[in-house]
Symmetry: D2
Subunit: 496 residues, 4 copies
């Protein structure tokens, strides 16, 4: 059986002593094994990254950028193959994988502008004939630890900019769907990246802990669940590393009485069920203000959900695919069960979905639950499945209070036509990414991604301008030259 | 005896249950007592800051800035009194205190520009008719914990910008010289700062831990020694707070053979002995490249040090005053003893200095030690006294290696006339603040202050542009309006 | 009779060979004479500014900024006297003069941040070991020519930033109300500005032409009417000077059917009649979309205008004062006459207003004209008086077309609650300053002021960030040092 | 014979009524004809650009950027062919053409970052609940007029950024070497640029004047000689257009006594003779400080110039090729004659150079002239040929005075090792682009290009950050929403 290896110092390495099964979630079958790196393998990757650092740091930013230009080209050229790899191991439909890849490539495009982004601030005459300026220098070896749900995009949030800034990188991707990630990293080598600048190690907690404990690793970027994010963040910090760790979410949309309801429903379909809801920006709670809006929303959603197709990634007419594992399917269904048990109304039920020809796939159908209340488990926790819950409130303030009281503060949205409502919402909501009639307010690559509260640990957000700051350290130089030497000397030396 | 209290919700509070002696280090006498805040007192301060936050956050940035304009005026008006308070409790000579205050005021001046500094990034058409922008919103209640050596300046690195950004603040200054700090904070109230926006609590570890553990405190800025900085940083982070913690230093100057030696000596005098060397940017090690340079340096320094006057703060002809405590005097002298015992040559010895009329003051005279080597304790640790050690090397690379190998990376300097040497040095040295013929390369207030390695824990530097980022969190809004409502409606409603 | 002189090289100079009468427009009486500078006087001012330039250019930005801090203080201290001077010669009510002064001071506040604003861009390694950075250096002697309607504010748009950037300045203010301008300039001297850095010359076209033709003047900022702006711009450019010239305006507000009509009326009162409409940002045309909105607007305006008080500046209960001259009063009334003759309906008529005790004052009452159409003279030209004209249209597109077709493009506004309408408007309207429910969208001092089309000639807008660019020129330095000299030499020179 | 046409609305158009000969300057033969556009043709191009504008303006910046990404790829793919076209018509050797093209592509790379570069400034709460932000909107149809010496690079300084900012473009390139320019523009179409967004018209003064006089053209960028630049600038401004016009140069290098002389000579060879000196950044004057330096410089240059090869573009071993026309060869030789007649010493004489097999080519050999003085014609005027003149001075100040007194202020350089000399030079020299040991200090594409004095007319420099400002106009929006409508309404509407 095919074994997915590591990329260390430009070579694919297969450390097959320990492996783990990789499934095709559409069929439920094991299709590959992924090598799990030992401590020694991770340390070798670190050593290679460390060795590659001095020359890479001294490579001019524009040369580093030009490898990113080429990398983008190669990803576009091989997009179809990458989407297939994603589909096979993650299950997402090809148009969704293509979207993921496109958002990943956007980050490479942004990294192509690194000469502009690395500019420091220069001040003449901070004192008489004294100048001062800042430089943003790379950190050294930095690491990224990424989740299964975006095997192409989330790594591309991290290493293109980290590398463009002059760092060398160790990526520890999810072991559930490692192939597309590895393939993409290999294309970076093809684009001209020197060996050792980007390394990929597959592995489990042992690999993660090796990265967290090694003094040569200067920074860690993480995306995953909140408990792990918190562990990564506190461990990395205690070990003297810079860290940004992105965790879970519970993203609410407020549906105001004046919303364009057809538009809202249309938007919510994709935002709630796309990629089976396995997105940290999935919109999983709709808060309808007033029963008129709530009734209309539920009725229209119910109708619209009849057209949703769930199935295998290979059929492009599907809207979304399976969830990642059988265990996760059970967990998602368990949340639906608990909501029902707690008194909520399951309006559309995806628990018993059957996909013909894929009877062993890990499918959950699109689910709509009404009359959810804040004390229910299904409301308090992140479900990470194709489930949209509706909470009914009587006033906008009540809706905002719900959101502000939730543990997470990743994304949120309001549907309204009213300028004042939108401004009041965006100003006062305790959430990092806010949409106004935009249900998935993922910032574009030239802005930065980050939640508030327990959705992100760290000072700086992911990608965009903040990534430049995260992957560099500020150096401030203050310069004064002693009184004229050669300048006046010249006069003295050559009198008429 | 006079008791120095707290400033809570705009009132001076004297929580006299527990107090600690405040000394005049020039005379060695206890002159005041400082109240040490109980947990309840600190929590009350936090509650007041929390209560003041919503209205202060909604005060427009220009109004917040205008209080800073007024605050600057008041500090200038009361400068003499402030310098006297500093001198009495810290011991620094009035011209040095005036310098400290001036650098502090610079930070207020920078905070006056907060409307400019808070500007977010606005992008039209991130998608068709979709706009996106970022806002930098205040964090809430933030805290600052500051050291004895700059009772005026270091607090002013923190709270003017924190407050100008819309946060409310709790300052826990050093309990050794609390009076000037409290006086200055009170002037902020006089400048128009609403009660509760700036609070000062004096205290010890109990007060610090209360701040670190209270969930309402969103961020902590710290300046002090590295072990405490590390404790503050890891505790604050583990408690979900943003933190920047500045620690110790060992700042080296490389003296190149082509340096303007008279200028270098002149600069080193102030940089090594000013404020008795109790500065995290004090230049405590001179690395001379080549014995010719070393011999010249030592000879000229020895000569120049004959003119140094140590004595009480009240005599403006003095160059520097006592160290902060008797214990600290003993510690400094102990390092000189150990260097001597380790084989270094004490060229000028300040251990036995006597100041007439101030026989009980905590004085150490300016000390010059030659032939110091990297394994000596006096080299490895921060002395924080008026001691300049000379290390002799044979090549610039060797000098740079020494600096890069040291635990600390706060400031450093090179003395040379050569452009190439300066550029090579500033590019490759692993230190956050670099001087080229500038021995104390403290960035001006519109750049940021921060060391590397174990001199600073955190992503963002102190004051300057980084402070704006530290004291705010990014929110990214993405906005699309549904298809034309009132715009087209108007047409339909009023046909001709 | 009092003669208002010039400020040259720090001294008030009275060049009384030629003078012009200064009126009190509330009484219609001549109260002072203003000296009109001869060519020789203007050239002397230029020579002084030229002489002061080298030292001022080399003064550090923070020192220049600190004079601005002090200047702000002095203006605040003397605000009442300044407002009185404005009132006596311009006629505006003291609260209006105070508002003008406050907006002027805002620009000084912004100039206090000049160390931040002058930062250049620094890039390491634009090539191997090659660095590049930009500096923004002052131009030299620059001039400002300002109008009567804001004798305090418009000069403060210009010289604080010009001077803070290191230039020296010649101001040629309006000869109609010169006293407040001169008084303010004198306070800049008191704030510590070295003699010759800021000079004021009163004068007429001869003075203007001298400034435009003198090769020592490097840049000209102008605010006034469009024909003069065009003349200034083309002449300055032909003479090799940098120029920005702000001209006339015809600012429209669109009133949408969904507007909060009471709010709109309330806003329009101040925006149309404040300062007698003698503002380039005065809102002089309301475009009502649909007859329902139009009827409501006209009815409510008519009612609200009953409460408007016109009278002398000295009575604070007045809403607005006289226009600047008898000639201008006749011109304004002539436009009302022509609108009436062209078929428009004068709903509220201010032509015959009488102010008791001020029968010879140059008063025009608030005037409301309905059914105005685009071909009327009163619509095509700038009236610069307290006249609000209403145009009725049937669709928002029609309203926008009107605005886009007008010669001027200074300011505009829409009254609506609808996010989509506001965004469509701001995106597509051909006007430089856009208000959404803000009838006078004058940018704050940390943004920049500028119209489009024939309202501004030049690339860069007035004040704010653009002013920094206007008053400086970019220098780009590229630096490489030859192979290691002293650095390696040291190694060779001192072998073991 | 081949006729080079125009590119209008995506089609190659051959307006053959009027044509002009295109030479191969290596052979002296006419090889093609270039069509000269009539007024009607230019107006058609303008109409097409105007028609293409609305849709292009509304295309999202990232989509516009992606065409630039593709354009870069195509240029790299077709680089060899482009260099051949340049060589045939301009005469420059292929490595030099490749360098030109690479610098051109750099500008496309920078334009790929346009989403970042177009970001406006967003301020919350400029007043209570009032926000303000700036947008940088495209101008409309803009034009570029470019010189023969960089047929690939200079157009690429202009249109990639102009187009990326949302403008549509008319390029009027040099009629002497039109083929590479046209070919490159056609590749932009292939990269996906919609028809009409980029148009190329070949022509003479009639075409230029049509562009200058047409009201639909909103801005003009020009690079050429100073008299034409001045004409373009004043005409464009008088016609209400934005304009930046880059003219001539006389770039001096100061050679200090401490310079690394071998390095300086090596650098000067390329900087003086590369591309036959037909560069506005060519280093045409070396100012040696002190006779020792001067003698060494002249001797080493004389020696080094023996290795220079002049010849046809097709032989890669050549260092430089012919000048552009027979007339220009005569003009260059005339300047050498005049210098000789004025008493200068022609040390190396290129007037009689013969290239075997290319006897009719327009060749001038590398020429070195010593003892040049400032009053000579050859010093005062731009030669634009392979001629390096040496001026001898006795002090650095004298050298700087020479440079500051010259009419032009494009580029300059100092050769020294001394930090102080370099800083004094860069601070005080009246030149826009300064090199420190960099003889051709052409800023990289992410900085901006521009001379001072009569080398550039306009406020903003070419390419880099300034180009973004030049090709856009600022719009400032100020927004306030009326009191809560739907937000509070919701509460009232749906009570429990």
């Amino acid at each position: 059986m095919n074994i997915v290896g590591h990329l260390i110092n430009g070579e694919i390495r297969c450390d097959a002593a320990s492996t783990q099964a990789v499934y095709n979630p559409s069929t439920g079958e094991v299709t590959k094994q992924v090598a799990l790196a030992s401590v020694a393998t991770v340390e070798e990757a670190i050593a290679c990254a460390q060795a590659a650092f001095p020359a890479w740091r001294d490579t001019t930013p524009i040369k580093r950028a030009r490898i990113m230009f080429k990398f983008k080209q190669l990803l576009e050229q091989h997009a179809e193959h990458i989407c297939e790899l994603i589909g096979e191991e993650h299950g997402k439909i090809s148009h969704d994988a293509a979207g993921e890849l496109a958002r990943g490539i956007e980050n490479i495009e942004y990294a192509c502008g690194v000469p502009e982004l690395l500019k420091g601030e220069h001040s003449c005459n901070v004192g008489p004939n004294i100048d001062s300026w800042s430089e943003f220098q790379p950190l050294g070896v930095v690491a990224g630890i990424t989740p299964f749900n975006f095997p192409a995009m989330v790594p591309l949030w991290m290493y293109p900019m980290a590398i463009a800034c002059g760092n060398t990188f160790i990526l520890k991707p999810s072991e559930r769907d490692p192939s597309s990630t590895l393939y993409i990293a290999h294309l970076a080598k093809e684009a001209g990246l020197p060996d050792g600048v980007l390394n990929v190690v597959n592995g489990n907690k042992e690999a993660v802990d090796t990265l967290l404990n090694d003094v040569r690793v200067k920074a860690v970027s993480f995306v995953g669940s909140t408990p792990i994010a918190e562990y990564i963040y506190s461990t990395a910090n205690a070990n003297g590393k810079r860290c940004q760790a992105l965790g879970g979410a519970k993203n609410h949309a407020i549906v105001m009485p004046d919303a364009d309801m057809d538009n809202a429903v249309n938007q919510l379909l994709g935002a709630a069920f796309g990629s089976s809801g396995e997105r940290c920006m999935a919109l999983s709670v709709a808060v309808a203000v007033g029963d008129v809006a709530a009734d209309a929303l539920v009725a229209k959603m119910q109708q619209a959900m009849k057209g949703l197709n769930v199935g295998a990634f290979s059929d492009k007419s599907n809207d979304f695919g399976p969830v990642i594992t059988a265990e996760h399917r059970n967990k998602v269904c368990g949340f639906i069960d608990s909501a029902e048990a707690d008194g909520a109304l399951v309006v559309v039920d995806g628990r018993q979905v059957q996909v013909e020809g894929y009877e062993n796939g890990f499918f959950v159908g699109g689910t709509l639950i009404d009359n959810v209340t804040p004390e229910m488990d299904s409301y308090r926790e992140e479900i990470f499945g194709p489930v949209l819950q509706v909470v009914r409130v009587q006033a906008m303030e009540e809706a905002m209070q719900l959101i502000n009281d939730h543990e997470y503060g990743n994304g949120t949205c309001i549907f309204t036509r009213d300028g004042e409502a939108a401004r009041y919402f965006s100003d006062n909501i305790q959430v990092g990414m806010v949409g106004i009639n935009v249900p998935l307010p993922v910032p574009v690559a030239y802005h930065s991604f980050g939640g508030w509260k327990r959705s992100l640990f760290g000072d700086l957000h992911a990608y965009g301008p903040d990534a430049v700051r995260f992957y560099t350290k500020r150096k401030t130089i203050t310069q004064r030259w002693p009184s004229a030497g050669v300048r006046e000397g010249a006069t003295f030396a050559f009198p008429s």
